[in-house]
């Protein structure tokens, strides 16, 4: 419900009396319902517009008002009162210091630029920052402290412990969660101290600890609570940087690793759907990039690639009557299951104007509705198939059932 009283109050505060609140409310509702604009945003825009019509220009940012971290938006110049919960030595010479700030509304990463920089912040201290800038980098919102920022040490304020969230709800930013290490992944890189997967008993995600940090590696079998971990998006999947996070061993909780499905899962079900992006696909030829190109041969990272590489894969849904699973079937398995090599598929596709679609249709007719046995690794409800075979019918099952029913 739109708060008309507050809008009226705002308008009258600026000496405006001749406005039609019904029309204003209609405009706001229209923005929200037809254009999907957040109500707060719509109210602000329409109010500002009415004020403008009456010759009142609002300051674009309330730069003298203290704002909680949670209410900041990219582009704002803000006043904050925050605690420095962790600091890190950055890799780049342009950056003096990076780390994480928190207040009672949430936590956010910060960077201090080297150029004309103020002194680095002390871990554990509270500061009042004025003229800090909020910006967004790679989808993550952060605070930028620069030569124009005023920094003042202040007395500590109460800071409640951050909310623990399930791993399934992590989004890029700063978060706190409970987890135990699921497995370690060997890294050939010297910059990584430890990396692998963690789980909270329900879902899994990748983690990394950088060699440059003081954080010790995780020990298997131990349950931890991580506060203020850096959550990032890596190749479309969530990955957490535990290097700067505050870590506490939590003996009170046992996380059941076995309930989380990971490597070497085997299951049987029926293929009920072949999804878009199956059959003959195009991949980016740039070294190290294997991204699927769009129909117009566009790579998300490397833009247009007319000299693409072909590949064959299937994205399908396996259904066992109780649950459904998204399968990704790689080229070797597709070739065996369809008895068609990539080269044969390319040739066949070349013979008709919508050739690649024909290939997808052929695959559909070959495997939909059939019982398949699959094995592979399951990561976050996506099944990477290592092998897939049609389930052979075993008549012994029929006889067994007849006996069961007769008794």
């Amino acid at each position: 419900m739109v708060d008309v009283k507050q809008i009226s109050a705002t308008l009258e505060k600026h000496g405006i009396k001749d406005y039609d609140i019904v029309v204003i409310e209609k405009r706001i509702n229209r923005m929200v319902s037809e254009f999907g604009i957040a109500e707060k945003e719509a109210v602000s825009t329409v109010t500002r517009d009415v004020l403008k019509q009456h010759g009142v220009e609002l300051k674009t940012s309330s730069s003298s008002d203290l704002i909680p971290l949670r209410d900041t938006s990219p582009g704002d110049w803000v006043v904050l009162e925050v605690k420095v919960v962790s600091t890190q030595k950055p890799n780049s010479p342009a950056i003096l210091q990076s780390g994480i700030l928190a207040d009672d509304s949430g936590a956010m990463g910060f960077i201090i630029f080297s150029k004309g920089a103020p002194k680095p912040l002390e871990e554990g201290s509270w500061y009042r920052l004025e003229q800090a800038v909020v910006d967004s980098y790679k989808g993550v919102v952060g605070i930028k402290i620069h030569s124009g920022t005023t920094i003042k040490k202040i007395d500590s304020k109460p800071l409640p412990p951050p909310t623990i969230v399930p791993l399934a709800e992590l989004i890029p930013g700063i978060d706190s969660f409970r987890a135990t290490m699921l497995n370690e992944i060997e890294s050939s890189s010297d910059t990584i101290k430890q990396s692998g997967m963690i789980t909270d008993g329900v879902s899994v995600c990748r983690f990394v600890i950088w060699a440059s940090s003081n954080a010790p590696p995780l020990e298997p079998g131990k349950a931890y609570v991580f506060y203020y971990a850096n959550v990032q998006s890596y190749n479309g999947k969530i990955s957490v940087d535990l290097s700067g996070a505050i870590r506490i061993e939590d003996d009170s909780v046992t996380i059941d690793i076995d309930s989380v499905k990971t490597d070497d899962v085997e299951m049987t079900g029926v293929i009920v759907q072949i999804q878009q992006g199956s059959g003959l696909i195009m991949r980016c030829p740039v070294e190290g990039c294997k991204r699927t190109l769009t129909r117009q041969k566009f790579c998300q990272k490397h833009e247009f690639q007319p000299d693409f590489n072909y590949d064959l894969r299937i994205k399908a849904v396996l259904d066992d009557g109780e649950d459904t699973y998204s399968l990704i079937v790689p080229r070797a398995v597709v070739e065996r299951i369809t008895d068609m090599t990539l080269d044969q598929a390319i040739e066949k596709a070349g013979q008709s104007p919508l050739g690649a679609e024909d290939i997808a249709l052929d695959i559909q007719n070959m495997i939909i509705g059939r019982y398949m046995w699959v094995t592979g690794s399951m990561i976050e409800s996506t099944f990477l198939v290592r092998d897939m075979l049609e389930l052979v019918y075993d008549d012994a099952e029929r006889v067994k059932l007849l006996n069961e029913v007769a008794s």
């Binding site: 259904d319 066992d320 559909q364 939909i368 052979v392 029929r398 007849l402 069961e404």
Partner: protein, 188 residues
């Protein structure tokens, strides 16, 4: 490429004889949430998996034609439809030469006629020609799934509801369904 936010509903394994007994629909809380058909054995069905022999095909209507396939699963028969909004399934139906082993994934629906008669049919999402082995795998799969639903009928939410709504349903009847399904020989 589409991102699905709601997880896809699994396809229930149900014999034609059981589908014939369905009449109760549980609608979702709003327009967007799925509706479910209550299974007498105790389960909620939004999607169904059928495998059997397509015996005959009828064309219904002229301007917006709809095709109806009669499919036998050894226990009885399903009526499966596909029209202009199920184009791929409709094409597959038209291409079929009956009799043929088919597997169908679709949405079951319950329709009550103005004079109170209940008709159950399945709107196909996919119709694929498979083979006897697939049909036989389905018979075993469906027998087991049906037995499991009955075993949990006293404790599952859907089971308890089924006991209320399908008061007259005797769970032992599934034994005769399974006997028919498991009988050897190719009797369709």
């Amino acid at each position: 490429m589409s991102e699905t936010y709601a997880k896809r509903e699994p396809a229930k394994r149900v014999f034609s004889a059981e589908l014939r007994l369905c009449h109760h629909v549980i609608k979702g809380s709003d327009d967007k949430s799925p509706s479910y058909i209550l299974l007498p054995t105790g389960g909620l069905m939004n999607r169904i998996l059928i495998s059997g022999v397509a015996i005959s095909r009828d064309k219904m209507g002229d301007t917006n034609p709809m095709y109806r396939l009669k499919v036998s699963d050894k226990v009885g028969a399903f009526y499966v439809t596909a029209g202009q909004y199920q184009q791929n399934a409709m094409y597959q139906m038209i291409k079929l030469e009956c009799p043929a082993y088919v597997t169908i994934v679709g949405k079951p629906s319950v329709y009550t006629t103005p004079d109170g008669k209940v008709l159950v049919s399945v709107r196909a999402e996919s119709v694929t020609v498979t083979d006897k082995a697939t049909r036989d795998n389905w018979l075993v799969d469906t027998a087991r799934a049906t037995m499991k639903r009955v075993a949990e009928r006293d404790v599952s939410e859907a089971g308890k509801l089924a006991k209320q709504i399908h008061e007259e349903f005797q769970p032992e009847i599934i034994n005769s369904w399974i006997e028919q399904a498991m009988a050897s020989g190719d009797s369709v």
